[in-house]
Structure formats: structure tokens, C-alpha cells
């Protein structure tokens, strides 16, 4: 399996790439335009800030959109999930607009960033969760959260607000947590993702 990890200039693509390699995939970093047919799966990693990422994504944007139109699966992690939306409260810039809804800042009585392990609950069946418990611990590190149409939300996490943790809209899949840093639960989820790509 050939996986392209989009390098939009954020640090730590390393963790994601290594986690996928541990599952036996060939992983390369993509900067700028690329040939969509080269890859079985695209990954948008999740470290940085929305305006920076949007800017770093500029050159690859057209190819990503083409990849998605061809039916390829795109997997977004944390900020990568946020990039599936048109805009974010984190700052200016236009995202990929694959999903309806908003990216909003976490507010209320909770601490920001939401940092650490949270119990994450399946809310609608998805192959991504195959072989896992209804509730699993995942690692989060974010100050903003995605608020997509309820029908696309497959798992949720309660952090003051009941936030979307897993979003699936056809071939666009996003997670708010970091599977590559979520020990055994993360490994299972990534394995399921690769199974979905193979099917």
C-alpha cells in the first residue's frame, strides 16, 4: 500500500509516518502537486495552526481535490480534520471545504488546550472501530474542534462540549485525536483504516 502524507510545513509528520510504516505501508511525504493515482491513501497530519497549514497546503490543494473526486480515501488527523472544513475560528484562510460545518474554539469551564487521554465513545457503527470496545482511550491535543453535521459523526468525546471525535463522510475520514500517539487503541484504528483502503 502506498500512502502519501501531506507535508504542509508543520512539524512531526514523523510520528504519523512511522505509525503507518509499522503497519507495513510504504509512506512518502508530499509537498506541492502530485499525481493522485500514485497513492492508495492520503493522510493530512495534525500539528500546527489552521492559517499556517492552509498556506502550506496551497500547492497540493488541487491534487488533493482530484484524489478525492477519484474516490480515494483521505484521512485527516486533528488539524488535518479541521482542514476538511471551509474555515476555522483559529484564523484566516480557506480550507478544503470537503465537509459542511465549522471549526470552533473550545470554551467554557474546561482547560484549553484539551490535552491528554479521553474516553471516546462510538455513536454510530463504522468499520474504523472494528474489533474495538464501545469506549476507547485516545490521546488529544487541541484548542479547536470540528462541528460537522451530526450524521457524519461516528464517535464523540465529552470535554465540556460533546465534541466530534471521528467524522466519516464517504471517502473523507477525520479524527480529532492522535491515533499515532494513542498506544494500542490507535494502532487498532489505523489497522482498520488500512483495511478500509484495501477493500
Amino acid at each position: 500500500m502506498y500512502i502519501g502524507v501531506i507535508d504542509y510545513g508543520a512539524s512531526n509528520l514523523f510520528g504519523v509516518a512511522e505509525a503507518l510504516r509499522r503497519e507495513g505501508a510504504s509512506v512518502s511525504m508530499i509537498k506541492g502537486r502530485f499525481l493522485p493515482s500514485r497513492f492508495d491513501l492520503l493522510v493530512l497530519p495534525g500539528v500546527g495552526s489552521f492559517p499556517y497549514a492552509v498556506n502550506g497546503l496551497k500547492d497540493a490543494k488541487e491534487s488533493i481535490i482530484e484524489f478525492r473526486s477519484n474516490g480515494g480515501i483521505i484521512f485527516g488527523i486533528c488539524l488535518g480534520l479541521h482542514l476538511f472544513f471551509m474555515s476555522s475560528e483559529e484564523g484566516n484562510g480557506k480550507g478544503l471545504a470537503f465537509l459542511d460545518g465549522k471549526v470552533r474554539r473550545i470554551t467554557g469551564i474546561v482547560k484549553v488546550p484539551h490535552m491528554g487521554w479521553s474516553n471516546t465513545k462510538l455513536s454510530q457503527p463504522t468499520e474504523l472501530w472494528d474489533g474495538m470496545h464501545e469506549e476507547e482511550w485516545f490521546y488529544y491535543a487541541h484548542s479547536y474542534f470540528a462541528d460537522p453535521p451530526p450524521g457524519t459523526v461516528k464517535a464523540r468525546v465529552d470535554y465540556g462540549i460533546n465534541m466530534a471525535a471521528v467524522v466519516v463522510e464517504k471517502n473523507v475520514i477525520g479524527v480529532q485525536f492522535h491515533p499515532e500517539k494513542s498506544a494500542t487503541a490507535g494502532k487498532k484504528l489505523l489497522r482498520n483504516l488500512l483495511m478500509m483502503v484495501r477493500r
Binding site: 508543520a10 512531526n12 500539528v47 495552526s49 488546550p113 491528554g116 491535543a141 470535554y159 498506544a183 494502532k187
Partner: protein, 257 residues
């Protein structure tokens, strides 16, 4: 709230080797950061901190390779701190695969570094490390002050004011070490921790003084810390992170199973 209290073992690295915590049984390479990191991960650590205590600048380059090696195998988050003198140092650590970088002296000397790092890589990977020491003053009682350069230099800054400023500038987390308690195994400084957790909305990792699971319970409950960092109690095989977490769970705290 559905976020677990975190237990974080801290590993001191000198010239590429872990210099404490080599008492595990059955390890092939004593002091190998990768092997120790994996061991702690298997024992239920929620996160790890690597503190680079290497004295010379040349030898410090080795740390980048250590970070790369650890990032290849470790599937829990890890922070790297110590010896970060510039924005470029911090960036290099992050690019090598660390999830977070902790900065202390450089942040005090040039607070704009916090904002630069935070803007580029996000607040969640910038940990403001603060070494705090109580300084008494005959007339006014005293206050906690910020020390830099590995605890050797008093910056004169008030701990609470500095942490408020650091978080405002973009730090996503605070690693708060009590110099008074560090190495004593007599318990965390609860008063200090309480003051800091009450002053900022960012998560606070308490450090310095841990000698038992009771101390950890105390700082997480009474001190309201989000995470507890400890070295000795784990390194010398007294407890595993898993055992500590079970202890906390039995006393009503939320921990990752």
C-alpha cells in the same frame, strides 16, 4: 471532565544515554532511551519526558538522533527539554519527531520565542518549563521566583506572573518544578501547584518531590494538577505507572485504563 489525569515518567539523558532509570531487570542495553521508553509505555505511562542534561554543545547534537530513534517506535506522546537555547534548537527537536518541546531559559531570555513556536507548530506542542523556588523577603514575606539555567540563576520573575504571561504568549502547557522539593522525595509543593493551576487555563504538569503514590494523589487532587511527573519512584522499580494509576483509580480519580 472526561480527560484522564496523566502519569509521566521523566528520563534524564546525557550524551545519548539515560543516566537514571537503568535499574530495570532484563534490559539488554542499560540506559538505551528507546528500550526504556518502550518499557515505560508497556507499563502504562501516559506520556514521557526526556530531559537532556548533556553539558557540552557538541554532544547535544546526539539528542536529535535519540529523538528520531524514540519517535520511530514510541506510540505515546513525548516531550523533550533541556539545552534548548534558540528557536532553531526547539524546531530541530520537533522536526526530529518529538511531540512537544519544553523551554525554560530561552523563554525567559526572549519570550517572543514562545509565540514564534506556537504560531508555527501550535500551542499544544509548546511546554513552558518553570523552575520555581520560594524566596523569602524580610519585609513582605516572600514569593515563588523563576530560576533559569538548570536552577542556577534567579531571574527575579514572579512565578505566577511569568506563567500567566507565557500562556498568553502561546504556551499550551506548563511543566512546573519545585526546586525546593526536587530530589527530596518528600512530596510535591501543593501550595505552589494550587496557585499555578488556579491562575491559568492551560494544563499543568507538577514536578519535583515525588516519593510515593500518595504524593501523586495529593498533587492531582489538592494541587489540582493535570499530570504528575516523577522519576525516582519509577526508575528504581519501586512502582510502575500502572500500579500508581490503579491506586489513583481506586481513590476516585479518572485515569487511562
Amino acid at each position: 471532565m472526561a480527560v484522564a489525569k496523566r502519569i509521566i515518567p521523566c528520563l534524564d539523558v546525557d550524551g545519548g544515554s539515560v543516566v537514571k532509570g537503568i535499574n530495570f531487570k532484563g534490559l539488554k542495553g542499560a540506559g538505551d532511551p528507546v528500550e526504556l521508553a518502550s518499557r515505560y509505555r508497556d507499563q502504562g505511562a501516559d506520556e514521557l519526558v526526556f530531559l537532556d542534561i548533556t553539558a557540552t554543545v557538541e554532544a547535544r547534537r546526539i539528542m536529535f538522533d535519540v529523538v528520531k530513534d524514540v519517535a520511530k517506535v514510541l506510540d505515546i506522546p513525548f516531550t523533550v527539554g533541556g539545552g534548548i537555547r534558540t528557536f532553531e534548537d526547539a524546531r530541530a527537536i520537533l522536526w526530529s519527531g518529538a511531540d512537544k518541546v519544553s523551554i525554560n531559559t530561552v523563554a525567559v531570555q526572549d519570550p517572543s520565542v514562545i509565540t514564534k513556536l506556537s504560531d508555527a507548530y501550535g500551542a499544544q506542542c509548546i511546554v513552558l518549563a518553570v523552575d520555581a523556588k520560594w524566596v523569602s523577603n524580610d519585609k513582605r514575606g516572600g514569593n515563588y521566583q523563576v530560576y533559569t539555567h538548570g536552577g542556577r540563576v534567579n531571574s527575579g520573575l514572579d512565578v505566577i506572573n511569568w506563567i500567566r504571561k507565557g500562556v498568553e504568549l502561546g504556551a499550551g502547557e506548563v511543566l512546573l518544578t519545585s526546586i525546593d522539593r526536587d530530589g527530596t522525595q518528600s512530596g510535591y509543593d501543593i501550595e505552589l501547584t494550587k496557585k499555578v493551576t488556579g491562575a491559568v487555563e492551560a494544563p499543568v504538569i507538577a514536578s519535583g518531590g515525588c516519593g510515593s503514590p500518595e504524593h501523586i494523589l495529593d498533587v492531582l487532587k489538592a494541587g489540582n494538577a493535570d499530570a504528575a511527573l516523577a522519576a525516582s519512584i519509577f526508575h528504581y522499580g519501586k512502582y510502575t505507572p500502572e500500579e500508581v494509576k490503579l491506586y489513583l483509580k481506586n481513590r476516585g480519580l479518572t485515569v487511562r485504563a
